[in-house]
Protein backbone atom coordinates (compact mmCIF):
# COMPACT_ATOMS: atom_id res chain seq x y z
CA UNK A 1 0.00 0.00 0.00
CA UNK A 2 1.26 3.46 -0.88
CA UNK A 3 1.55 5.89 2.00
CA UNK A 4 -0.94 8.75 1.92
CA UNK A 5 1.90 11.15 2.37
CA UNK A 6 5.57 10.64 1.87
CA UNK A 7 8.01 13.50 2.36
CA UNK A 8 11.52 12.58 1.19
CA UNK A 9 14.78 14.33 1.99
CA UNK A 10 13.22 17.71 2.66
CA UNK A 11 15.72 20.50 3.34
CA UNK A 12 15.05 24.15 4.00
CA UNK A 13 17.38 26.94 5.01
CA UNK A 14 16.37 30.36 6.34
CA UNK A 15 19.45 32.55 5.92
CA UNK A 16 22.07 31.03 8.19
CA UNK A 17 19.62 28.70 9.88
CA UNK A 18 19.28 25.17 8.51
CA UNK A 19 15.66 24.71 9.60
CA UNK A 20 15.24 21.30 8.00
CA UNK A 21 17.96 18.97 6.83
CA UNK A 22 17.19 15.86 4.87
CA UNK A 23 13.93 15.11 6.65
CA UNK A 24 11.86 12.12 5.59
CA UNK A 25 8.50 11.15 7.07
CA UNK A 26 5.44 9.24 5.97
CA UNK A 27 1.81 8.63 6.89
CA UNK A 28 -0.57 5.79 5.99
CA UNK A 29 -4.36 5.87 5.66
CA UNK A 30 -6.12 5.57 9.01
CA UNK A 31 -2.90 6.18 10.84
CA UNK A 32 -1.98 8.77 13.44
CA UNK A 33 1.64 9.86 13.51
CA UNK A 34 2.76 12.00 16.41
CA UNK A 35 5.41 14.53 15.49
CA UNK A 36 7.42 15.39 18.58
CA UNK A 37 10.25 17.70 19.45
CA UNK A 38 11.17 20.80 21.37
CA UNK A 39 10.19 24.23 20.15
CA UNK A 40 12.53 24.99 17.27
CA UNK A 41 13.11 21.32 16.45
CA UNK A 42 11.60 21.83 13.00
CA UNK A 43 8.18 20.17 13.43
CA UNK A 44 6.19 23.22 12.53
CA UNK A 45 8.51 24.12 9.67
CA UNK A 46 8.17 20.64 8.22
CA UNK A 47 4.41 20.79 8.48
CA UNK A 48 4.35 24.22 6.90
CA UNK A 49 6.17 22.78 3.91
CA UNK A 50 3.43 20.18 3.64
CA UNK A 51 0.63 22.71 4.06
CA UNK A 52 2.14 25.06 1.49
CA UNK A 53 3.13 27.89 3.80
CA UNK A 54 6.84 27.34 3.06
CA UNK A 55 8.57 25.95 0.03
CA UNK A 56 11.43 23.54 0.61
CA UNK A 57 14.84 24.08 -0.98
CA UNK A 58 15.08 20.42 -1.93
CA UNK A 59 13.28 17.15 -1.46
CA UNK A 60 10.12 15.51 -2.75
CA UNK A 61 6.54 15.14 -1.60
CA UNK A 62 4.38 12.20 -2.69
CA UNK A 63 0.63 11.98 -2.21
CA UNK A 64 -0.70 8.44 -2.60
CA UNK A 65 2.39 7.45 -4.51
CA UNK A 66 2.60 10.26 -7.03
CA UNK A 67 4.91 13.20 -6.69
CA UNK A 68 3.27 16.59 -6.20
CA UNK A 69 4.45 20.18 -6.07
CA UNK A 70 3.04 22.19 -3.20
CA UNK A 71 3.68 25.88 -3.74
CA UNK A 72 0.86 27.42 -1.72
CA UNK A 73 -1.92 26.48 0.70
CA UNK A 74 -4.35 25.97 -2.16
CA UNK A 75 -2.13 23.28 -3.72
CA UNK A 76 -2.04 21.52 -0.39
CA UNK A 77 -5.81 21.66 0.02
CA UNK A 78 -6.29 20.40 -3.49
CA UNK A 79 -4.40 17.25 -2.55
CA UNK A 80 -6.70 16.73 0.42
CA UNK A 81 -4.31 18.05 3.06
CA UNK A 82 -5.95 20.23 5.68
CA UNK A 83 -4.24 21.95 8.58
CA UNK A 84 -5.89 22.74 11.90
CA UNK A 85 -4.04 25.37 13.86
CA UNK A 86 -4.35 25.56 17.59
CA UNK A 87 -5.46 29.16 17.85
CA UNK A 88 -5.55 31.09 14.64
CA UNK A 89 -7.85 28.80 12.72
CA UNK A 90 -11.20 30.55 12.98
CA UNK A 91 -12.65 33.99 12.38
CA UNK A 92 -14.12 34.59 15.84
CA UNK A 93 -16.68 37.11 14.70
CA UNK A 94 -18.29 34.69 12.25
CA UNK A 95 -20.61 31.81 13.10
CA UNK A 96 -19.82 28.11 12.81
CA UNK A 97 -21.40 27.77 9.38
CA UNK A 98 -19.40 30.67 7.97
CA UNK A 99 -16.20 29.25 9.42
CA UNK A 100 -16.79 25.76 8.05
CA UNK A 101 -17.26 27.20 4.57
CA UNK A 102 -14.85 30.14 4.76
CA UNK A 103 -13.15 30.67 1.43
CA UNK A 104 -15.28 27.99 -0.24
CA UNK A 105 -18.79 29.31 0.28
CA UNK A 106 -21.74 27.86 -1.52
CA UNK A 107 -23.42 30.48 -3.59
CA UNK A 108 -26.68 30.83 -5.40
CA UNK A 109 -25.90 33.20 -8.27
CA UNK A 110 -23.99 35.82 -6.30
CA UNK A 111 -25.88 35.34 -3.03
CA UNK A 112 -24.52 33.14 -0.26
CA UNK A 113 -26.60 29.99 0.02
CA UNK A 114 -26.90 30.13 3.81
CA UNK A 115 -29.57 27.42 4.12
CA UNK A 116 -27.63 24.79 2.22
CA UNK A 117 -24.43 25.65 4.09
CA UNK A 118 -26.17 25.32 7.46
CA UNK A 119 -27.69 21.96 6.56
CA UNK A 120 -24.34 20.64 5.31
CA UNK A 121 -22.48 21.91 8.37
CA UNK A 122 -25.04 20.28 10.64
CA UNK A 123 -24.67 16.99 8.76
CA UNK A 124 -20.93 16.94 9.12
CA UNK A 125 -21.10 17.69 12.85
CA UNK A 126 -23.67 14.94 13.31
CA UNK A 127 -21.35 12.56 11.52
CA UNK A 128 -18.60 13.51 13.96
CA UNK A 129 -21.14 13.01 16.78
CA UNK A 130 -20.66 16.54 18.00
CA UNK A 131 -23.39 18.59 19.57
CA UNK A 132 -23.23 22.32 19.06
CA UNK A 133 -26.46 24.00 20.13
CA UNK A 134 -26.46 26.83 17.66
CA UNK A 135 -24.42 27.10 14.50
CA UNK A 136 -25.52 30.69 14.13
CA UNK A 137 -23.70 32.39 17.00
CA UNK A 138 -20.20 33.81 16.61
CA UNK A 139 -17.64 31.11 17.39
CA UNK A 140 -16.10 33.47 19.96
CA UNK A 141 -19.00 32.39 22.20
CA UNK A 142 -18.04 28.72 21.93
CA UNK A 143 -15.81 26.61 24.14
CA UNK A 144 -12.30 25.67 23.04
CA UNK A 145 -13.41 22.14 22.23
CA UNK A 146 -16.37 23.30 20.17
CA UNK A 147 -14.13 25.64 18.22
CA UNK A 148 -11.67 22.85 17.59
CA UNK A 149 -14.59 20.78 16.34
CA UNK A 150 -15.68 23.49 13.94
CA UNK A 151 -12.16 23.56 12.51
CA UNK A 152 -12.15 19.78 12.14
CA UNK A 153 -15.64 19.79 10.62
CA UNK A 154 -14.35 22.23 8.04
CA UNK A 155 -11.52 19.88 7.10
CA UNK A 156 -13.76 16.83 7.03
CA UNK A 157 -16.40 18.51 4.94
CA UNK A 158 -13.84 19.30 2.31
CA UNK A 159 -12.83 15.65 2.14
CA UNK A 160 -9.51 15.89 3.87
CA UNK A 161 -7.43 12.75 3.38
CA UNK A 162 -4.72 14.10 5.61
CA UNK A 163 -5.23 16.20 8.69
CA UNK A 164 -2.44 18.15 10.29
CA UNK A 165 -3.26 19.10 13.87
CA UNK A 166 -0.94 21.50 15.63
CA UNK A 167 -1.18 21.04 19.42
CA UNK A 168 -4.87 20.13 19.12
CA UNK A 169 -5.49 19.78 22.84
CA UNK A 170 -3.02 22.30 24.25
CA UNK A 171 -5.72 24.81 25.18
CA UNK A 172 -8.39 22.35 26.27
CA UNK A 173 -9.60 20.99 29.59
CA UNK A 174 -9.53 17.22 30.32
CA UNK A 175 -13.10 16.58 29.22
CA UNK A 176 -12.71 18.41 25.95
CA UNK A 177 -9.33 16.78 25.35
CA UNK A 178 -11.09 13.46 25.61
CA UNK A 179 -13.72 14.60 23.09
CA UNK A 180 -11.05 15.60 20.60
CA UNK A 181 -9.44 12.20 21.17
CA UNK A 182 -12.72 10.50 20.27
CA UNK A 183 -12.97 12.68 17.23
CA UNK A 184 -9.51 11.64 16.11
CA UNK A 185 -10.47 7.98 16.48
CA UNK A 186 -13.61 8.55 14.44
CA UNK A 187 -11.54 10.16 11.69
CA UNK A 188 -9.04 7.28 11.78
CA UNK A 189 -11.88 4.87 11.28
CA UNK A 190 -12.82 6.76 8.14
CA UNK A 191 -9.31 6.25 6.76
CA UNK A 192 -8.07 9.77 7.35
CA UNK A 193 -4.35 10.05 8.08
CA UNK A 194 -3.42 12.43 10.87
CA UNK A 195 -0.24 14.20 11.87
CA UNK A 196 -0.40 15.29 15.50
CA UNK A 197 2.19 17.89 16.35
CA UNK A 198 3.24 18.54 19.91
CA UNK A 199 6.16 19.30 22.14
CA UNK A 200 4.53 17.28 24.90
CA UNK A 201 4.59 13.50 24.64
CA UNK A 202 1.52 13.14 26.84
CA UNK A 203 -0.62 15.07 24.38
CA UNK A 204 -0.04 12.58 21.60
CA UNK A 205 1.15 9.25 23.04
CA UNK A 206 -2.31 7.76 23.59
CA UNK A 207 -3.57 8.71 20.16
CA UNK A 208 -0.57 8.00 17.95
CA UNK A 209 0.29 4.76 16.16
CA UNK A 210 3.80 5.91 15.47
CA UNK A 211 5.97 8.70 16.79
CA UNK A 212 8.51 10.69 14.82
CA UNK A 213 10.91 12.72 16.91
CA UNK A 214 12.75 15.77 15.56
CA UNK A 215 15.65 17.76 16.91
CA UNK A 216 17.62 20.60 15.35
CA UNK A 217 15.90 20.23 12.01
CA UNK A 218 16.61 16.50 11.68
CA UNK A 219 14.55 13.40 12.30
CA UNK A 220 15.95 11.58 15.33
CA UNK A 221 13.89 8.52 14.62
CA UNK A 222 10.48 7.02 14.03
CA UNK A 223 9.14 4.34 16.35
CA UNK A 224 5.96 2.36 16.90
CA UNK A 225 4.27 3.78 19.95
CA UNK A 226 3.58 0.38 21.45
CA UNK A 227 7.26 -0.64 21.24
CA UNK A 228 8.65 2.17 23.35
CA UNK A 229 8.53 3.39 26.89
CA UNK A 230 7.92 6.97 27.80
CA UNK A 231 11.52 7.35 28.99
CA UNK A 232 12.89 6.12 25.72
CA UNK A 233 10.88 8.69 23.78
CA UNK A 234 11.90 11.45 26.16
CA UNK A 235 15.49 10.35 25.58
CA UNK A 236 14.98 10.80 21.87
CA UNK A 237 13.47 14.25 22.34
CA UNK A 238 16.10 15.48 24.79
CA UNK A 239 19.29 13.67 23.81
CA UNK A 240 18.45 13.25 20.15
CA UNK A 241 19.55 9.62 20.03
CA UNK A 242 17.43 6.58 19.32
CA UNK A 243 18.27 3.04 20.39
CA UNK A 244 19.11 1.15 17.17
CA UNK A 245 16.79 -1.76 17.91
CA UNK A 246 13.77 0.52 18.10
CA UNK A 247 14.12 2.43 14.88
CA UNK A 248 11.86 1.44 12.02
CA UNK A 249 12.15 2.81 8.53
Amino acid sequence: MNPLIEMKNISLRFGGNQALSDVSINLYPGEVVGLLGHNGAGKSTLIKVLSGAYKSDSGQIFVEGSEVKINNPQDSQRHGIETIYQSLALADNLDAVANVFLGREKINGVVLDEDTMEIEARKVLDRLRVKIPSLRVPVSNMSGGQRQTVAIARAVYFKAKVLIMDEPTAALGPEETQKVGELIKALKAEGVGIFLISHDLHDVADLSDRLTVMKNGRVVGTVNTKDVSEDEVLGMIIAGTTPKHLANK
Binding site: A91, N93, L94, A98, N99, R104, L112
Partner: protein
Protein backbone atom coordinates in the same frame (compact mmCIF):
# COMPACT_ATOMS: atom_id res chain seq x y z
CA UNK B 1 -30.36 20.91 20.41
CA UNK B 2 -31.19 19.34 23.73
CA UNK B 3 -28.51 21.23 25.58
CA UNK B 4 -29.81 23.71 28.06
CA UNK B 5 -28.96 27.31 27.58
CA UNK B 6 -28.20 29.18 30.75
CA UNK B 7 -30.94 31.77 31.19
CA UNK B 8 -29.55 35.27 31.23
CA UNK B 9 -30.55 37.38 34.18
CA UNK B 10 -33.32 39.79 33.26
CA UNK B 11 -31.10 42.79 33.95
CA UNK B 12 -28.42 41.78 31.48
CA UNK B 13 -30.95 40.75 28.85
CA UNK B 14 -32.47 44.22 29.03
CA UNK B 15 -29.04 45.75 28.52
CA UNK B 16 -28.47 43.37 25.65
CA UNK B 17 -31.72 44.28 23.95
CA UNK B 18 -31.26 47.99 24.51
CA UNK B 19 -27.65 47.71 23.37
CA UNK B 20 -28.75 46.09 20.15
CA UNK B 21 -31.35 48.70 19.24
CA UNK B 22 -30.15 51.70 21.19
CA UNK B 23 -29.26 53.69 18.07
CA UNK B 24 -32.82 53.34 16.78
CA UNK B 25 -34.16 54.41 20.17
CA UNK B 26 -31.74 57.31 20.28
CA UNK B 27 -32.78 58.51 16.83
CA UNK B 28 -36.45 58.33 17.83
CA UNK B 29 -35.66 60.11 21.09
CA UNK B 30 -33.90 62.96 19.26
CA UNK B 31 -36.78 63.42 16.86
CA UNK B 32 -39.30 63.50 19.71
CA UNK B 33 -37.23 66.04 21.65
CA UNK B 34 -36.87 68.35 18.66
CA UNK B 35 -40.54 67.93 17.80
CA UNK B 36 -41.66 68.92 21.31
CA UNK B 37 -39.17 71.77 21.46
CA UNK B 38 -40.21 73.17 18.09
CA UNK B 39 -43.90 72.98 18.98
CA UNK B 40 -43.49 74.56 22.41
CA UNK B 41 -41.14 77.32 21.30
CA UNK B 42 -42.42 78.22 17.85
CA UNK B 43 -45.70 76.37 17.53
CA UNK B 44 -44.25 74.54 14.53
CA UNK B 45 -43.70 70.93 13.69
CA UNK B 46 -40.11 69.75 13.38
CA UNK B 47 -40.44 66.54 11.44
CA UNK B 48 -43.85 66.66 9.82
CA UNK B 49 -43.02 68.95 7.01
CA UNK B 50 -41.51 67.96 3.72
CA UNK B 51 -38.87 70.64 3.83
CA UNK B 52 -37.39 69.40 7.10
CA UNK B 53 -37.31 65.79 5.99
CA UNK B 54 -35.70 66.74 2.70
CA UNK B 55 -33.13 68.88 4.46
CA UNK B 56 -32.21 66.14 6.91
CA UNK B 57 -31.89 63.60 4.12
CA UNK B 58 -29.82 65.96 1.98
CA UNK B 59 -27.54 66.58 4.93
CA UNK B 60 -27.19 62.82 5.31
CA UNK B 61 -26.10 62.19 1.72
CA UNK B 62 -22.42 63.12 1.81
CA UNK B 63 -21.45 61.70 5.21
CA UNK B 64 -23.42 58.55 4.49
CA UNK B 65 -21.76 57.94 1.12
CA UNK B 66 -18.37 58.18 2.83
CA UNK B 67 -19.57 56.16 5.80
CA UNK B 68 -20.78 53.30 3.59
CA UNK B 69 -17.31 52.72 2.21
CA UNK B 70 -15.79 53.25 5.64
CA UNK B 71 -18.14 50.62 7.06
CA UNK B 72 -16.51 48.01 4.84
CA UNK B 73 -12.99 49.28 5.51
CA UNK B 74 -13.54 49.47 9.27
CA UNK B 75 -15.14 46.02 9.43
CA UNK B 76 -12.02 44.69 7.70
CA UNK B 77 -9.93 46.29 10.43
CA UNK B 78 -8.76 49.33 8.44
CA UNK B 79 -9.52 53.03 8.27
CA UNK B 80 -9.51 55.56 5.44
CA UNK B 81 -8.69 59.13 6.41
CA UNK B 82 -8.26 60.25 2.82
CA UNK B 83 -11.90 60.06 1.71
CA UNK B 84 -12.70 63.69 2.51
CA UNK B 85 -10.29 64.94 -0.08
CA UNK B 86 -11.16 62.12 -2.45
CA UNK B 87 -14.53 63.86 -2.55
CA UNK B 88 -12.81 67.14 -3.42
CA UNK B 89 -10.56 65.49 -6.01
CA UNK B 90 -13.56 63.91 -7.70
CA UNK B 91 -15.58 67.12 -7.49
CA UNK B 92 -12.86 69.23 -9.13
CA UNK B 93 -12.16 66.57 -11.76
CA UNK B 94 -15.82 66.32 -12.71
CA UNK B 95 -16.08 70.12 -12.87
CA UNK B 96 -12.96 70.57 -15.01
CA UNK B 97 -13.99 67.83 -17.47
CA UNK B 98 -17.51 69.21 -17.83
CA UNK B 99 -16.29 72.77 -18.22
CA UNK B 100 -13.71 71.92 -20.86
CA UNK B 101 -16.29 69.95 -22.88
CA UNK B 102 -19.03 72.48 -22.35
CA UNK B 103 -18.92 74.16 -25.75
CA UNK B 104 -18.23 71.08 -27.83
CA UNK B 105 -20.60 68.40 -26.47
CA UNK B 106 -24.21 68.15 -25.26
CA UNK B 107 -24.60 68.68 -21.51
CA UNK B 108 -25.65 65.10 -20.81
CA UNK B 109 -22.57 63.65 -22.46
CA UNK B 110 -20.37 66.21 -20.74
CA UNK B 111 -21.81 65.16 -17.39
CA UNK B 112 -21.37 61.47 -18.19
CA UNK B 113 -17.71 61.99 -19.09
CA UNK B 114 -17.21 64.14 -16.01
CA UNK B 115 -18.68 61.38 -13.82
CA UNK B 116 -16.49 58.72 -15.42
CA UNK B 117 -13.36 60.85 -15.03
CA UNK B 118 -14.19 61.65 -11.39
CA UNK B 119 -14.81 58.02 -10.48
CA UNK B 120 -11.66 56.87 -12.27
CA UNK B 121 -9.38 59.40 -10.62
CA UNK B 122 -10.88 58.57 -7.22
CA UNK B 123 -10.39 54.86 -7.84
CA UNK B 124 -6.74 55.51 -8.63
CA UNK B 125 -6.41 57.25 -5.27
CA UNK B 126 -8.18 54.30 -3.64
CA UNK B 127 -5.91 51.87 -5.47
CA UNK B 128 -2.86 53.69 -4.09
CA UNK B 129 -4.35 53.43 -0.59
CA UNK B 130 -4.92 49.73 -1.09
CA UNK B 131 -1.45 49.07 -2.46
CA UNK B 132 0.21 51.00 0.36
CA UNK B 133 -1.73 49.06 2.98
CA UNK B 134 -2.07 45.59 1.50
CA UNK B 135 1.19 45.29 -0.42
CA UNK B 136 3.63 47.58 1.40
CA UNK B 137 2.12 46.88 4.83
CA UNK B 138 1.85 50.53 5.79
CA UNK B 139 -0.62 50.95 8.69
CA UNK B 140 -3.96 52.19 7.25
CA UNK B 141 -3.98 55.20 9.56
CA UNK B 142 -0.65 56.43 8.17
CA UNK B 143 -1.06 55.36 4.56
CA UNK B 144 -4.41 57.07 4.17
CA UNK B 145 -3.23 60.11 6.12
CA UNK B 146 -0.50 60.48 3.50
CA UNK B 147 -3.08 60.13 0.75
CA UNK B 148 -5.24 62.74 2.52
CA UNK B 149 -2.44 65.22 1.88
CA UNK B 150 -1.79 64.06 -1.66
CA UNK B 151 -5.46 64.10 -2.66
CA UNK B 152 -5.79 67.53 -1.12
CA UNK B 153 -2.81 68.90 -3.01
CA UNK B 154 -3.82 67.38 -6.33
CA UNK B 155 -7.39 68.63 -5.93
CA UNK B 156 -6.28 72.21 -5.24
CA UNK B 157 -3.79 72.10 -8.13
CA UNK B 158 -6.49 70.84 -10.51
CA UNK B 159 -8.78 73.59 -9.24
CA UNK B 160 -5.97 76.16 -9.52
CA UNK B 161 -6.59 77.06 -5.91
CA UNK B 162 -10.15 78.20 -6.43
CA UNK B 163 -13.60 76.78 -7.10
CA UNK B 164 -14.39 75.59 -10.63
CA UNK B 165 -17.82 76.82 -11.76
CA UNK B 166 -19.76 74.48 -14.01
CA UNK B 167 -22.26 75.75 -16.53
CA UNK B 168 -24.11 72.52 -17.26
CA UNK B 169 -27.90 72.30 -16.75
CA UNK B 170 -27.96 68.50 -16.54
CA UNK B 171 -25.30 68.61 -13.83
CA UNK B 172 -27.35 71.12 -11.89
CA UNK B 173 -30.45 68.96 -12.25
CA UNK B 174 -28.52 65.99 -10.86
CA UNK B 175 -27.69 67.90 -7.71
CA UNK B 176 -30.88 69.90 -7.25
CA UNK B 177 -33.67 68.04 -9.02
CA UNK B 178 -36.12 65.70 -7.40
CA UNK B 179 -38.30 62.80 -8.36
CA UNK B 180 -42.02 63.68 -8.36
CA UNK B 181 -41.01 66.88 -6.60
CA UNK B 182 -40.56 64.90 -3.39
CA UNK B 183 -37.39 62.79 -3.38
CA UNK B 184 -34.22 64.78 -4.13
CA UNK B 185 -32.14 62.98 -6.76
CA UNK B 186 -29.03 62.84 -4.51
CA UNK B 187 -31.15 61.14 -1.85
CA UNK B 188 -32.46 58.65 -4.38
CA UNK B 189 -28.94 57.87 -5.61
CA UNK B 190 -27.77 57.38 -2.04
CA UNK B 191 -30.72 55.17 -1.22
CA UNK B 192 -29.98 52.92 -4.18
CA UNK B 193 -26.32 52.67 -3.13
CA UNK B 194 -27.36 51.91 0.48
CA UNK B 195 -29.51 49.01 -0.71
CA UNK B 196 -26.71 47.64 -2.90
CA UNK B 197 -24.10 47.97 -0.16
CA UNK B 198 -26.37 46.34 2.42
CA UNK B 199 -26.89 43.45 0.06
CA UNK B 200 -23.20 43.12 -0.78
CA UNK B 201 -22.15 43.17 2.87
CA UNK B 202 -24.75 40.78 4.20
CA UNK B 203 -25.39 38.39 1.32
CA UNK B 204 -22.27 37.94 -0.76
CA UNK B 205 -18.83 36.40 -0.54
CA UNK B 206 -17.35 39.88 -0.76
CA UNK B 207 -19.17 40.86 2.43
CA UNK B 208 -18.34 37.59 4.16
CA UNK B 209 -14.64 37.99 3.36
CA UNK B 210 -14.73 41.55 4.66
CA UNK B 211 -15.93 40.27 8.04
CA UNK B 212 -13.48 37.36 7.98
CA UNK B 213 -10.48 39.60 7.32
CA UNK B 214 -11.53 41.90 10.16
CA UNK B 215 -12.13 38.96 12.49
CA UNK B 216 -8.95 37.03 11.79
CA UNK B 217 -6.74 37.98 8.90
CA UNK B 218 -4.56 34.89 9.19
CA UNK B 219 -7.54 32.56 9.26
CA UNK B 220 -8.88 34.29 6.17
CA UNK B 221 -5.56 33.85 4.44
CA UNK B 222 -5.35 30.20 5.39
CA UNK B 223 -8.87 29.67 4.14
CA UNK B 224 -7.60 30.67 0.72
CA UNK B 225 -9.06 34.17 0.65
CA UNK B 226 -6.92 36.58 -1.34
CA UNK B 227 -6.65 39.07 1.50
CA UNK B 228 -4.38 41.44 -0.40
CA UNK B 229 -6.68 41.74 -3.39
CA UNK B 230 -9.75 42.03 -1.20
CA UNK B 231 -8.20 44.78 0.91
CA UNK B 232 -7.24 46.76 -2.19
CA UNK B 233 -10.81 46.29 -3.43
CA UNK B 234 -12.20 47.77 -0.22
CA UNK B 235 -10.19 50.99 -0.56
CA UNK B 236 -11.08 51.30 -4.24
CA UNK B 237 -14.76 50.82 -3.37
CA UNK B 238 -14.57 53.45 -0.64
CA UNK B 239 -12.92 55.92 -3.01
CA UNK B 240 -15.52 55.28 -5.70
CA UNK B 241 -18.33 56.04 -3.22
CA UNK B 242 -16.49 59.20 -2.18
CA UNK B 243 -16.40 60.13 -5.87
CA UNK B 244 -20.19 59.81 -6.03
CA UNK B 245 -20.38 62.26 -3.12
CA UNK B 246 -18.03 64.60 -5.02
CA UNK B 247 -20.13 64.40 -8.18
CA UNK B 248 -23.28 65.15 -6.19
CA UNK B 249 -21.55 68.15 -4.61
CA UNK B 250 -20.55 69.48 -8.01
CA UNK B 251 -24.14 69.15 -9.18
CA UNK B 252 -25.65 70.70 -6.12
CA UNK B 253 -23.40 73.76 -6.00
CA UNK B 254 -22.77 73.88 -9.77
CA UNK B 255 -19.08 74.10 -9.02
CA UNK B 256 -16.18 71.83 -8.20
CA UNK B 257 -14.29 72.48 -5.00
CA UNK B 258 -11.21 70.84 -3.51
CA UNK B 259 -12.59 71.23 -0.01
CA UNK B 260 -15.96 69.70 -1.02
CA UNK B 261 -15.71 66.86 1.48
CA UNK B 262 -13.28 68.28 3.97
CA UNK B 263 -15.50 68.68 7.04
CA UNK B 264 -17.31 65.41 6.48
CA UNK B 265 -14.67 62.82 7.35
CA UNK B 266 -15.18 62.84 11.10
CA UNK B 267 -18.96 62.74 10.79
CA UNK B 268 -18.64 59.78 8.45
CA UNK B 269 -16.42 57.87 10.88
CA UNK B 270 -18.78 58.87 13.68
CA UNK B 271 -21.75 57.49 11.74
CA UNK B 272 -20.00 54.14 11.36
CA UNK B 273 -19.08 53.99 15.05
CA UNK B 274 -22.51 55.11 16.26
CA UNK B 275 -23.93 52.45 13.95
CA UNK B 276 -22.20 49.76 15.99
CA UNK B 277 -19.10 48.95 13.95
CA UNK B 278 -15.99 48.10 15.92
CA UNK B 279 -12.85 50.10 15.15
CA UNK B 280 -10.98 46.89 15.92
CA UNK B 281 -12.67 45.28 12.95
CA UNK B 282 -14.98 42.34 12.47
CA UNK B 283 -18.26 44.02 13.30
CA UNK B 284 -20.63 46.47 11.70
CA UNK B 285 -23.71 46.71 9.53
CA UNK B 286 -24.91 48.98 6.74
CA UNK B 287 -28.23 49.58 8.50
CA UNK B 288 -26.38 50.68 11.63
CA UNK B 289 -24.29 53.12 9.63
CA UNK B 290 -27.42 54.58 8.02
CA UNK B 291 -28.96 55.14 11.47
CA UNK B 292 -25.67 56.66 12.67
CA UNK B 293 -25.62 59.09 9.74
CA UNK B 294 -29.27 60.01 10.35
CA UNK B 295 -28.59 60.66 14.03
CA UNK B 296 -25.84 63.10 13.16
CA UNK B 297 -27.94 64.82 10.50
CA UNK B 298 -30.91 65.13 12.86
CA UNK B 299 -28.72 66.62 15.59
CA UNK B 300 -27.18 69.14 13.23
CA UNK B 301 -30.38 70.12 11.49
CA UNK B 302 -32.40 70.01 14.70
CA UNK B 303 -30.10 72.37 16.55
CA UNK B 304 -30.26 74.84 13.70
CA UNK B 305 -34.02 74.44 13.60
CA UNK B 306 -34.49 75.30 17.24
CA UNK B 307 -32.08 78.19 16.91
CA UNK B 308 -29.14 76.89 18.88
CA UNK B 309 -25.75 78.28 17.90
CA UNK B 310 -24.23 75.97 15.27
CA UNK B 311 -21.10 75.55 17.35
CA UNK B 312 -23.06 73.36 19.74
CA UNK B 313 -23.37 70.84 16.91
CA UNK B 314 -19.77 69.85 17.33
CA UNK B 315 -20.22 69.32 21.04
CA UNK B 316 -23.41 67.33 20.54
CA UNK B 317 -21.95 65.08 17.85
CA UNK B 318 -18.80 64.56 19.91
CA UNK B 319 -20.85 63.60 22.94
CA UNK B 320 -22.89 61.13 20.89
CA UNK B 321 -19.74 59.43 19.60
CA UNK B 322 -18.48 58.91 23.12
CA UNK B 323 -21.90 57.78 24.30
CA UNK B 324 -22.21 55.25 21.49
CA UNK B 325 -18.84 53.71 22.27
CA UNK B 326 -19.76 53.50 25.96
CA UNK B 327 -23.04 51.77 25.17
CA UNK B 328 -21.20 49.38 22.88
CA UNK B 329 -18.61 48.54 25.52
CA UNK B 330 -21.15 47.84 28.24
CA UNK B 331 -23.12 45.68 25.82
CA UNK B 332 -19.97 43.71 25.03
CA UNK B 333 -19.06 43.18 28.65
CA UNK B 334 -22.54 41.83 29.30
CA UNK B 335 -22.46 39.53 26.29
CA UNK B 336 -18.97 38.42 27.17
CA UNK B 337 -19.73 37.52 30.77
Amino acid sequence: MNQTVKPASSGSSIIKTVGAIWSWLFLAFLIVVFEIWARLSFGQTFLFNLNSVQSILMATVQPLLLALGLTFVIIAGGIDLSVGFTVGLASVTAAQVMQSLNSSLPSGIGLALGIIAAILIAMIAGLVNGLLIARLNIPPFIGTLGMYGINRGVAFILAKGTTVPVDNPVNSALGNGSVLGIIPIPVLITLIIVVIMHYVLSQTKFGQYTYAIGGNKQAAQRAGINVERHTIGLYVLTAALAAVAGIIYTGRFTAGAAQAGEPTLLNAIAAVVIGGASLFGGEGKVVGTVIGALIIAVIEFGLVYINVSPFYQFIAVGAVIILSVLVDQSRRSVVGS
